[in-house]
Symmetry: C2
Amino acid sequence: MEPGLFEIMYSLRAMRRLKPDRVPEDVVWKVLEAGTMAPSGGNSQPWRFVVLQDPEVKRFVQECYLRALRVYLQAGAEAAARRQPPPSPDETARQMRTRDAALHLGEHLHEAPLLLLVCMVQRDLSLLRDAQGNLRGPAVYSSIFPAVQNILLACRALGLGATLTTLHLAFEGQIKERLGIPADVETVAMLPIGYPLGRFGPTRRARVEDVTYWDGWNQLRARR
Amino acid sequence: MEPGLFEIMYSLRAMRRLKPDRVPEDVVWKVLEAGTMAPSGGNSQPWRFVVLQDPEVKRFVQECYLRALRVYLQAGAEAAARRQPPPSPDETARQMRTRDAALHLGEHLHEAPLLLLVCMVQRDLSLLRDAQGNLRGPAVYSSIFPAVQNILLACRALGLGATLTTLHLAFEGQIKERLGIPADVETVAMLPIGYPLGRFGPTRRARVEDVTYWDGWNQLRARR
């Protein structure tokens, strides 16, 4: 039986270790169609999904990704070493596990049966600029990441593992050139998708009572 | 019985007409806890939820919102009048209905039992800047809008109507001052939430086959 919405949300972990097994095409359609059901400003539906299955294309993305990941992890390690007070042993152990899983993902990215590149087409952005002419970030991206979350939830419901990544932004120009993506289209996320090697499990999060305020900043309320 | 994930997604419309009936606090906690289960970069969980229930606070937000909405609708109407070719009668009728529903929302915003302001706290953003020092928008907002979508889905599952809005960005400074929100915290979305007057119903979307490309831009594939 299909698990319920809350069960799906509460067990939706980033799945970074995937089997190379093929994902049937009707399952891919079902996952992506769920993405199209998300809300978007003025129902503009700015999403375009680029499914990468070709081994050479995936290898190209993986090589770029791994280079970017090493730079990112190095910068993260240096930032952690400077932290005062230093992280606790527990915290350090968690960081190491996350680092290992991230590296595993980077080294095996091309083995995932599919990489999903989520793109956003240019909309009429004139209404989204502030008085200084800057784009209002939240107004723009509020029309695309709900679709990404629908896709992650649909994957989980269908037994597929996935991870939301944005590190491709470090080499976005190369990817767009390789795939023929027009200049005015933005790539916003890259999701490796496949059947998971590990198990879906509980997520680790701060308590909702500690991040919820009532009628003013920092006004906490106990949960009864 | 609770509807399944796909049924929830496929019937998740923006619900702009809400009853003033109180939402029990345990239901609010359940909705917001679902939000905290979303993924975020490095599990940074940058969300803070500000629940607005105080009548004076809601009225203040409503007055600002309605002013901003009128400016927005006026600009939209002028843009539509310039469009070549002009929109079809069907399209125009749809736009009028959306406009009416938006105006209804703006005029009755303070009557919603609660307004949820979703905020994002500053993270270590140094890793999210490109070589020119610009923030990478998708990397930033990928950590907050999945939580917003979880909240919308949880509302739907529990029979609550909601709408994802970002128009408060036009008067963000005033809201932050009124609620004591620190300068380095960004408000990313405002969701009026309550029991709906209308019915949840099917969403209207482009076919997934028309927005999905395979191994390269614009490479369509038929869905069998």
